[in-house]
Symmetry: none
Subunit: 214 residues, 2 copies
Amino acid sequence: MLTPKQYNLLLYINKTIRETGCCPSFDEMKDAIGLKSKSGIHALIDALVERNFLRKLPHKARALEVLKLPKVRPSTVVALDGKDTIPGVEIPLYGKIAAGTPIEAIANENDKLSLPAGMVYSGSYYALTIEGDSMIEAGIMDGDTVIIKKVDTANNGDIVVALIDDAEATLKEIKKDGAYVHLIPKNSAYQTRRLPASRVKVQGILSSLIRTYH
Amino acid sequence: MLTPKQYNLLLYINKTIRETGCCPSFDEMKDAIGLKSKSGIHALIDALVERNFLRKLPHKARALEVLKLPKVRPSTVVALDGKDTIPGVEIPLYGKIAAGTPIEAIANENDKLSLPAGMVYSGSYYALTIEGDSMIEAGIMDGDTVIIKKVDTANNGDIVVALIDDAEATLKEIKKDGAYVHLIPKNSAYQTRRLPASRVKVQGILSSLIRTYH
DNA sequence: CAGATTTTGTTCTAGTTTAGTTCTAAAAAT
DNA sequence: ATTTTTAGAACTAAACTAGAACAAAATCTG
C-alpha cells in the first residue's frame, strides 16, 4: 500500500491540517520528516496522489486535501482465529444511491458489510451508500450507509428504495395516493415527485443506518 | 484454495498493513514467514495475485493491496438462528445523553451493544442513546445510538461528549478558544455555550452512529 | 490596484540506497 | 525420478536524498 516515508508524510499532513486548519508547505514537510530538500516531498506527494490518499488543487499553494487514511486497526481484529466473534451476518454492499442516478449495476462480491445479528431480523438485506443531501432533514447525510430490507411493498411514511421506470433508483419517503405514489424528499430544496404507481417499484425499505466519523 | 505458506503470507501482509499503515518489503516478508531468500516470496505473491487475494500496482515498490481474506471459519462458536458469526466486539451501553443529565445517573453495566469489529479501531468505546434534537442539523436525531471513543482530548470540529462541572454531560461540537471552549449545538434553535476550559472535560469523541427504523 | 517581494511549488540532474525480478542449482517432498 | 520448494547471486528498477534553478502563487507596499 504505502512506503513508510509516504505513510509518515500522510500522517503529518493530516495532523497539521486538523490542528492548524491549514495545509503545511513543502518546506515545513521536509523539516517535519527530516529531509534537506523539498524535491523529495514532491515525489512523495505524487505517490500519495496516485494512490488516492491525497488530492491537490492544481495551481494552488498549500492546497492539499487528505482523501483517506490507511485504516490502522489492532491486530486482534484481524486475528481470524474465532475468538472474538459475535453472531453476525454479512450483507452485500451494492454501491451508491442518489437522486437521478441508478444504483451501480455492479454487485461487487468483495464489498460486504458485517453487521451484528441483532440489527437484522428475518428477511434479506443489502446496503447502499448515500450520495447527496435530498434526505438530510430525515438525518440521512451524504456518505451514510443505509441497510435496506428487501420487500416489494411499503406503507405510507416508510422510507424506501424506489426504482423509477426500471432505470433510476432513489431513496425517498413514500406516500400512496390512489393510482399514484408520491416520492417525498426530506429537504425543502427538493420537490416531491408524483408518479403513476405503475412506473415505481419498491426495492426495499430503510431498516437501519450507519455513519462513521473520521 | 491456498497453501499454508500462501495463507500465512497473506495474513502477515494484511496484519502489517493494518497495524502499521504501510506495506512490508519482500525482505521483511521472507523474515516473517521464515524463508532465507526472497525469491520464494515472489512466487507466493504471484500465486496470491493470480487468485485475486492481492493486487499490486505495477512497477511500484511496497504497493500491495489486500483484496480479500480467506473466509473465517468459526470453529467453536455456536451459530445462533442459523446465522453466521463474524469478528466482533461488545461495548457498554451507558444510557441516554441529553442536555442537563449526567451520564452516570443512568449507567447500567448490563446493557451491551454488539458491533462488527470493523467499526471500532484501537481504543476503548462505549455507546449512548441520543435524547433531544440539539444536534439534528448534524444528522444526529432523537433516539440514535452513538458510539463514542474514549479519549480526553479532541480537535476543533470534533463532536465530543463533554462533561461540564463534573455534573452535566452533553454531545456537542467542540471548538477551543484559548482558555475557553465553545460547545456548539447543531440546531439553530440552540445557543453555543462558551465555558472556561477548566469546567469542561472531554469524555470521548463521536466515532460512529447507528439508527434503527421501525 | 500595480508592481515588487517573498513564499511556495515544480523541474531537473545526479548519486545512493532499497526493493523487486529473474535465473540457476540444490534440497525436499511426492 | 519427477515435481515442488528453497537458497543464492546477479541484475533491473524504484525509492529516496540533495542541490540548484526556475516558475507560479500569495503577500506586501506604495
